[in-house]
């Protein structure tokens, strides 16, 4: 169970996307894990063959727990911890376990062909066999202990929605479930009849996790705060002209300019980018910008866009669009949660003009942006109306000081005056 941030202690395996015998390569998504803050797709960082699934779906385990055994290329299967030597791993469950609540790998549709016993297949590239259900609905099903194989999807293309799950949870338990299809016969019968229990309050759980991380931050990090008003007229004019040239699929939001400016400013003041670990600042060469994204049901999460300093605005936009979509859909990847080296938060759409945020430990800085508002702005002895944004820095005084922080904000401002160079 990978650690996906300082505020995570346990995770629940929601779904395995691979089975023993599947070949996987670096970067493949092998499992979906539920943390107290979000549903995360777990990537694999080695190429090899899945030897054994150790933690079954539905089980909550502490971070660091062995989830599965992977045999890397050229490695003997017997060398894997706890893995019994097997000539070719048959796709059998590793041990009797309580039935997972979402064991059925397909939406309820007329079965076109009988399920036959499959011969052991040669290792092949992992092909995710997802249910047609949103991760959010899946997570709620787990909370409410709803057997998804009994739920009929009413969403687009028969997808199981949150409402479907909640409806199923409220429905009285079926007196005698119909005999399951052959594929389910192997599963213990108790699975389907599991009664719904008190739902987990997701928002409260997330608030608890955020509270722990933020309390730790305020307890351990001596914050200092700086603010700088930035004239955005050049940046906004450039953006408007640029978007007129672009098709709808490639248009930019102004927030990507802010992200790029922050990432480039780090080159000038690198002590805001990295971590405070074991009593010392550890500078990060990579610039992975965590983007604070609100979750509509409550709470927020700050996954990373990697190497923002090396990407074009278009690339950052593609990454940001994808990230927001997946945060809201609940399909983040583990590396996106754990890798941020600095966080940027923007509350402009909520009408906020100034943001003085709390640093996400072990990071050492957070940059805030408020709403772009028209303000009287004096320049060259003339006063005119300009779009202005307040940029703020919450800095860790152990890693940097106000002088360097001020230079950092000044660099952001300067970079935004030449948007075409971003």
């Amino acid at each position: 169970m990978p650690s996906l941030g300082a505020d995570m202690e346990v995770g629940t395996v929601l779904q395995w996307l691979v089975k023993p015998g599947d070949a996987v390569k670096r970067g493949d998504i092998v499992a979906v894990v539920d943390t107290e803050k979000a549903t995360i797709e777990v990537e694999i960082f080695q190429t090899g063959v899945i030897q054994k699934i150790v933690v079954p779906e539905g089980e909550k385990v502490p971070i660091g727990t062995l989830l599965a055994v992977l045999t890397t290329d050229g490695e003997a299967a017997a060398a894997a911890p706890e893995a019994k030597p097997k000539p070719v791993a048959p796709p059998a469950p590793p041990r009797p376990v309580p039935p997972p609540v979402m064991a059925k790998p397909a939406p309820p549709r007329p079965a076109p062909a009988p399920v036959a016993a499959k011969p052991p297949a040669p290792p092949k590239t992992a092909a995710p066999h997802r249910m047609h259900i949103s991760p959010l609905a899946m997570r709620i099903a787990l909370d409410l202990k709803v057997d998804l194989s009994t739920v009929t999807g009413t969403g687009p293309d028969g997808a199981i929605t949150k409402a479907d799950v909640e409806r199923a949870a409220k429905a009285p338990p079926a007196p005698a479930p119909a005999p399951p299809v052959a594929a389910r016969a192997a599963a213990p019968a108790a699975a389907a009849a599991k009664p719904a229990t008190a739902p987990v309050d997701r928002t409260a759980t997330m608030r608890k996790v955020i509270a722990a991380a933020m309390a730790r931050s305020k307890r351990e990090i001596p914050h200092y705060y700086l603010g700088n008003q930035i004239d955005m007229s050049k940046a906004m004019s450039w953006l408007t002209a640029e978007n007129l040239k672009r098709p709808v699929t490639e248009r930019l939001l102004y927030s990507v300019m802010l992200l790029k400016a922050v990432a480039l400013a780090i080159h000038e003041v690198p002590e805001v980018n990295g971590f405070w670990k074991d009593g010392a600042f550890v500078r990060s060469e990579a610039v992975h910008v965590g983007v604070a994204i609100s979750i509509r049901q409550g709470g927020l999460i700050a996954p990373a866009i990697h190497d923002v300093n090396q990407k074009s605005l278009s690339e950052i936009m593609v990454n940001l669009r994808d990230l927001v979509k997946r945060v809201r859909a609940g399909t983040l990847r583990s590396s996106e949660i754990a890798d941020a080296t600095i966080t940027v938060t923007s509350l402009g759409e909520q009408g906020v003009e100034s943001v003085f945020g709390v640093i996400y430990p072990p990071q050492v800085a957070l940059v805030g942006f408020g709403k772009i508002v028209e303000r009287p702005w004096a320049s060259g002895g003339m006063v005119g109306a300009r779009p202005v944004v307040m940029a703020s820095l919450s800095g860790d005084h152990r890693a940097s000081d106000g002088h360097r922080g001020g230079l950092f904000l000044a660099a952001i401002e300067r970079l935004l005056q030449e948007p075409e160079k971003l």
Partner: protein, 81 residues
């Protein structure tokens, strides 16, 4: 496209962007930014998805018309009929 097809498309794409929202609870006349807290990125994603499905180019200045179901139906109706 018929109005019904546009509605269906809109709700399908909205479901991808906001899977936690029950389409049956959407008030077609109300701005989704107020109704379900969509933000500029969500609206952009909606505009992109509708563009990809219909081929209609939606200028940035017209995004506000995409923020309610009725507004989108009227907008696309005028451009696809």
């Amino acid at each position: 496209m018929s109005d019904e097809e546009i509605r269906s498309l809109y709700l399908r794409e909205l479901h991808k962007i906001a899977p936690e929202v029950d389409p049956k609870e959407i008030d077609p006349a109300v701005d989704l930014r107020e109704q379900i807290d969509l933000d500029s990125m969500d609206i952009l994603n909606l505009a992109v998805a509708i563009h990809e499905a219909t081929g209609v180019d939606i200028p940035e200045a017209d995004y506000p018309q995409m923020t309610s179901l009725n507004g989108c139906v009227a907008y696309l109706h005028a451009r696809t009929s």
